[in-house]
Symmetry: D2
Subunit: 136 residues, 4 copies
């Protein structure tokens, strides 16, 4: 998918101001990857015998997926946008990703899907923070 | 819709802690109303002859719709959730709503759909802030 | 919310062709109501002691919420749209709503949230079918 | 992203029945890639001087993005799901992708972003149809 994200950024008639294009592309990609991983992780948790112990994980996964999806869309149309909204959504997305990474990591040793999801969440949180720190 | 939001909140086996139920119900309802109004406003803008002057409005509408949809979903599953994520998404949603309200209000005298949308955005921003201030 | 949906439809500069406005408004409203009810029902199921018996319900709720949200957005921008896509998404949404209504109804006697959700799903399926049958 | 989609499918405790895993993984990935490309294409169209000629493209992009996002989520939780809903959403998604591919292709010679988006839509329509034809 990386190629398409970058090609679309390069093809825009108006370059987004005040943003590092590589960090923007990476953040969009990590958001969509993380959203999918979280939705799949919630579904995998529902198939576990110990599902009753995983309800917090399922909810955290779902919240994280919703925020990552919204953030990816908002970043994908970031051409001269109100920076305050961009900052706020990146802050919220990073918080959801960190929360979900912590939750998934706490039982990653027993569930491979939680291990993979925790890593996707950590990468996405980092990508959001890297983009945030570069916004001017 | 108000009835269903409240009935569902009342029917939950575990009451969400640290949250005022009336403010939660109102915030959920304003979020879904605002998301729909923003999507419809963006579409109405695309039908205006002066669409070239409304591109910022169309983008702001779309961002606001995405955040309101995510916020409504996250609030709808708020049973003992990480308060930090709830706070961050409400802050982001209020920022998007205020931004969209200001943009729509700036040409509300010429476009009735922008006037209606600006009001929905202001009510939603207020509902997010009211809920935020009540979170403990 | 009903008022805003109708006001926005009335305020559009270009009236959508080949569609009954009242059925369109009702379908949009039932979709957003149903999406919220399904998300809340899935969350309520996660709080039930017998969550292990409700995993199909939680998945069906989540699928239905996703389709209702997409359908509400697509219908909200229906100004002269490709009717084939409108038909296909309404067909899919009605199928998801019927499936979720059947699943929720099967344990509605034990879970009030499933009873309320089943009703919201049935109304939404009917609204989708009524709109479908009126499309020309 | 491909790696994560496949790893998550492999890590699920219950393998989805009646579905070809490679086609499922590819379809999920094409859906999220297409959703992002469509959102970016709509935004790029809004930056074109001839935006008034691109309003159909912007709407078609937005509809396609909404359906691809919903389809990716529904497929990501496809563990023993009602096949009728899966079929209906794949049919709707393929219809939206074909419609958007045709619209974007009609001015792909003038707008690079429409050319890239048309290709993403065609690949996604094909992936939906390939998955549909393999469902048992």
């Amino acid at each position: 998918m990386s190629t398409v994200v970058k090609e679309m950024l390069a093809a825009r008639p108006a370059a987004p101001g005040g943003v590092d294009r590589d960090r923007l592309a990476r953040c969009i990609e990590e958001c969509v990857t993380c959203a999918q991983a979280c939705t799949a992780c919630a579904d995998a948790c529902l198939s576990e015998e110990m599902v009753a112990d995983l309800t917090t994980c399922i909810r955290t996964d779902a919240d994280c997926a919703d925020l990552c999806t919204a953030t990816a869309a908002i970043l994908s149309r970031r051409t001269g946008h109100a920076t305050e909204v961009t900052r706020a959504v990146l802050t919220a997305c990073a918080a959801a990703c960190r929360s979900c990474a912590d939750e998934c990591a706490s039982h990653a040793d027993r569930h491979e899907h939680c291990r993979i999801c925790a890593e996707a969440c950590r990468r996405c949180a980092q990508a959001c923070e890297d983009l945030l720190s570069s916004l001017t």
